[in-house]
């Protein structure tokens, strides 16, 4: 057996060297006006050899290794337990989420400003990921241009405040609605396309919207973006040091406390938190409604679902529109948090990151998506030395997840009814 594998193993090891040696081991460097080739450090070469050796050994003893792996006791302690009963599981999940929310409500008052700001970003990603989860996780439509709707929300608020002085609270529903309508208009023609074609077309739409935002200089300021986007107000109270809009009062003067920049950051965080909770609740509701069932039915088996009388277009369109709506929601909050937006915040990579969150979280599961959003946003902040490797790890994680655990870290388990066989 081992003998049979030797040839293949040697081949794999050689391929490993071929694909890593020129790119890793020979570096193109600019010396003055010339490009020269320099060797990498010795450790790089050692690493390449070690990698090749590992591949060789693994491939040689592949069968026995895999057998051992299968026999080995599962590391996962939960796996031996019986799967939790459905009702308990659902209850547990909602308790966990409630716990997280209560914790999140009081947490910002005890930690630093930087953490609160980061948490606001996490919440924005949670909203985005929950929205995309409807499209990708539940309805099974791969949308690679999701960032376009996020941009529509952000730009709606920026433009409304720039030209019509509309406040955050007015812009929030308008932005979300506009994003939803954009989703519907774009979705209508393309949703009859099959999965992978749909992915490419949505990617194209995402790029087109970004290019248009970038080129329409007279309206959107083009690459200069739009600045001076107002912060949200609390009943007409502003959180800045100075009042910017006439007629408003400032928060710290009204309450007679000293000005602190933290008020604004915490307030924004709380708004984002409330909106994220609203997003989660609404989507949760949708999931239990007939339309939510229809999404999943269509994802699982389109032909069967259609033969049962589900309108393919209507079901897909609803998922697409709702996803876009929440992206618009998140976009408005993002614009308000940044105070300045430009097309470079809405590139394809952003779509890919949101998609990675949904995939890592286990497509369909809300708790999973929330945890993944937290992990994906915070881990690079914690390990800043590794931030260069962030995207590399993202890519690898996406592949590995698909290979080993396509259902994600916390897969969704549907509340289903078990039919007892009639004796």
């Amino acid at each position: 057996m081992v003998k049979n594998n030797l040839g293949h193993a040697a081949f794999c090891a050689i391929v490993t060297v071929i694909i890593s040696f020129p790119i890793l081991g020979l570096n193109l460097e600019a010396r003055g006006v010339n490009i020269t080739l320099t060797g990498a450090s010795t450790s790089t070469y050692v690493a390449i050899l070690v990698a090749a050796a590992t591949v060789f050994v693994f491939q040689t003893f592949r069968d026995s290794l895999m057998g051992l792996l299968r026999k080995a006791p599962k590391l996962n302690p939960i796996s031996r337990k019986q799967p939790m009963e459905r009702s308990r599981r659902v209850k547990l999940e909602s308790w966990i989420i409630t716990g997280i929310v209560i914790f999140a409500l009081f947490w910002p008052f005890f930690v630093s400003r930087g953490s609160v700001d980061l948490a606001t970003l996490v919440l924005i990603y949670i909203m985005l990921a929950l929205g995309l989860n409807v499209v990708v996780g539940l309805a099974g439509l791969l949308d690679l241009g999701y960032v376009a709707f996020y941009a529509v929300g952000a730009y709606t608020f920026a433009l409304l405040s720039e030209y019509m002085n509309i406040s955050f609270w007015m812009a929030l529903p308008i932005g979300a609605l506009l994003a939803g309508i954009t989703g519907m208009i774009l979705g209508f023609p393309v949703l009859r396309l099959r999965g992978d074609y749909l992915a490419i077309v949505t990617l194209g739409f995402g790029e087109i919207i970004r290019i248009l935002l970038n080129n329409w200089t007279s309206l959107t300021g083009g690459p200069n973006g739009i600045g001076g986007i107002p912060d949200p107000t609390l009943f007409g109270m502003e959180f800045g040091r100075r009042v910017k809009v006439e007629g408003n009062t400032s928060f710290h003067e009204t309450f007679g406390i000293a000005y602190s920049g933290e008020h604004k950051v915490i307030f924004l965080y709380l708004i984002a938190l409330v909106l994220a909770v609203i997003t989660a609740l609404i989507i949760r509701r949708f999931m239990r409604m007939p339309v939510g069932r229809a999404w999943e039915a269509l994802r699982e088996d389109e032909i069967a679902a259609r033969s049962l009388g589900l309108s393919r277009t209507a079901v897909k369109l609803s998922a697409f529109t709702i996803g876009a709506f929440f992206a618009g929601f998140a976009g408005t909050v993002f614009a308000s948090k940044q105070g300045f937006i430009s097309p470079e915040s809405f590139v394809f990579l952003e779509s890919a990151i949101i998609l990675a969150i949904v995939v890592l979280g286990g497509m369909g599961s809300q708790l999973g998506v929330i945890l993944a959003a937290i992990a994906v946003t915070i881990l690079p902040e914690l390990a800043r030395e590794f931030s260069e490797y962030r995207m590399l790890i993202f890519g690898a994680a996406m592949v590995l997840m698909m290979v080993w655990r396509p259902q994600g870290l916390l897969p969704m388990r549907r509340t289903h009814i078990k039919l007892n066989r009639q004796e």
Binding site: G114, G222, S342, S387
Partner: protein, 370 residues
């Protein structure tokens, strides 16, 4: 057991608190915020090497008001979103002076936070006029504006009496801003502008654009943007026998353009801040950079150096560590820095920042253009 643990925790807590206190008493933190990673990290390197050098040298001379300067580094990847996160972390860490950010699109959202939080910011690289146009008190820069650099280029072009000029830009804040400034000045001077067009940053094929330039029969082409695109345009223009002189802003003036364009970079016109590293009074500083095996010739090295120096001298002039007092001192004083004599106007821009037109050569050197 529990009591000893408690004691231990208390002891550690107390010592940490004391350390923190000692920290605050004898040090002034200088935040350096710019791209350490990402596509424009090479400009970030210039910023960090200049600012760190300035901090070292000021500390060697005894620091500021008897206190040492301590650098705190932040990476914003030149991404507006990260820039806001970085700005908030800076506030958090109690930093009150910032040298940064680099890209205008990062500087703009970050400066909103700095102004609100009473942090003094000096950007060594952001040239967008927007940055200082909002009436902020604490935002300064040690570099000229697009609206200063554009006219220098346009005046030079107009003096050559060209029949037709084409203007191309890369549809980014920096490139389009400068290209617009050039166009407006040229229009005022009555020069015919045959074309004003954008290209996509990151694109590689410019053959259609070049054919169009050929058809328009232009004598000069102004390109607003960075070296990767202009390098390719130069080279592909040479291949297609386009006979025109190209000109670009300081974003194209580095050796990378030679590695891309090769011989085609000969004769390119570039507006640059005067090469501070070639000034006589800076030679000692240049040696210090070379001793550390760093290159002082990048466009943002000495502007970053000057930014740190201005903060230090501002603190001394104000005899106060309050950023508002320092800002006041910067506006009222005159400072000698490696980038020349600095005086600030109300907006926080230098009253004069010179740009010079250079002719670029294929060996990477440059000479003042005639």
């Amino acid at each position: 057991m529990t009591t000893s643990l408690k004691k231990l925790v208390t002891a550690i807590g107390a010592s940490v608190a004391l350390m923190g206190a000692g920290h605050a008493a004898a040090e002034i933190q200088i935040g350096i915020a710019g791209p350490v990673t990402g596509p424009v990290a090479q400009y970030g390197d210039m910023q960090f090497s200049g600012a760190l050098m300035a901090i070292d040298r000021i500390n060697e001379q005894g620091g500021v008001l008897g206190e040492k300067l301590v650098p705190v580094e932040y990476d914003d990847v030149c991404d507006p979103k990260q820039a806001v996160t970085v700005a908030n972390r800076l506030v958090n860490d109690g930093v009150r002076y910032v040298v940064g950010h680099l890209c205008s699109s990062s500087t703009q959202p970050a400066s909103d936070i700095y102004e609100d939080e009473g942090i003094l910011m000096i950007t060594p690289a952001s040239t967008s006029p927007e940055v200082t146009a909002r009436g902020y008190e604490l935002i300064f820069r040690t570099i000229g504006l697009d609206s200063m650099q554009g006219p220098v280029a346009a005046n030079y072009l107009a003096d050559q009496n060209p029949e037709r000029v084409a203007i191309v830009h890369d549809k980014q804040q920096y490139g389009e801003g400068i290209a617009t400034a050039v166009r407006d000045t040229l229009k005022d001077k009555g020069v015919e502008i045959a074309m004003f067009e954008g290209v996509t940053a990151g694109d590689k094929d410019f053959s259609s654009l070049i054919t169009k330039l050929k058809q328009a029969d232009v004598e000069y082409v102004y390109f607003g943007g960075y070296h990767p695109e202009l390098g390719l345009i130069l080279r592909q223009a040479r291949q297609a026998n386009l006979d025109a002189t190209f000109m670009g802003p300081e974003g194209v003036g580095n050796n990378d353009i030679n590695t891309i364009a090769g011989d085609a970079s000969e004769g390119l016109l570039v507006t640059l801040p005067p090469s501070f590293d070639e000034k006589e009074e800076n030679q000692e500083l240049v040696k210090a950079f070379e001793a550390k095996n760093e290159d002082p010739s990048g466009p943002f090295v000495l502007t970053s150096y000057a930014a740190v120096q201005l903060i230090a001298e501002g603190i001394e002039a104000a005899d106060s560590k309050d950023p508002f007092d320092v800002a006041e001192a910067l506006r009222s004083g005159t400072f000698e820095t490696p980038i020349g004599t600095v005086e600030y106007d109300e907006a926080g821009d230098m009253k004069s920042f010179e740009f010079v037109v250079y002719e670029w050569h294929s060996d990477g050197s440059k000479t003042p253009a005639k």
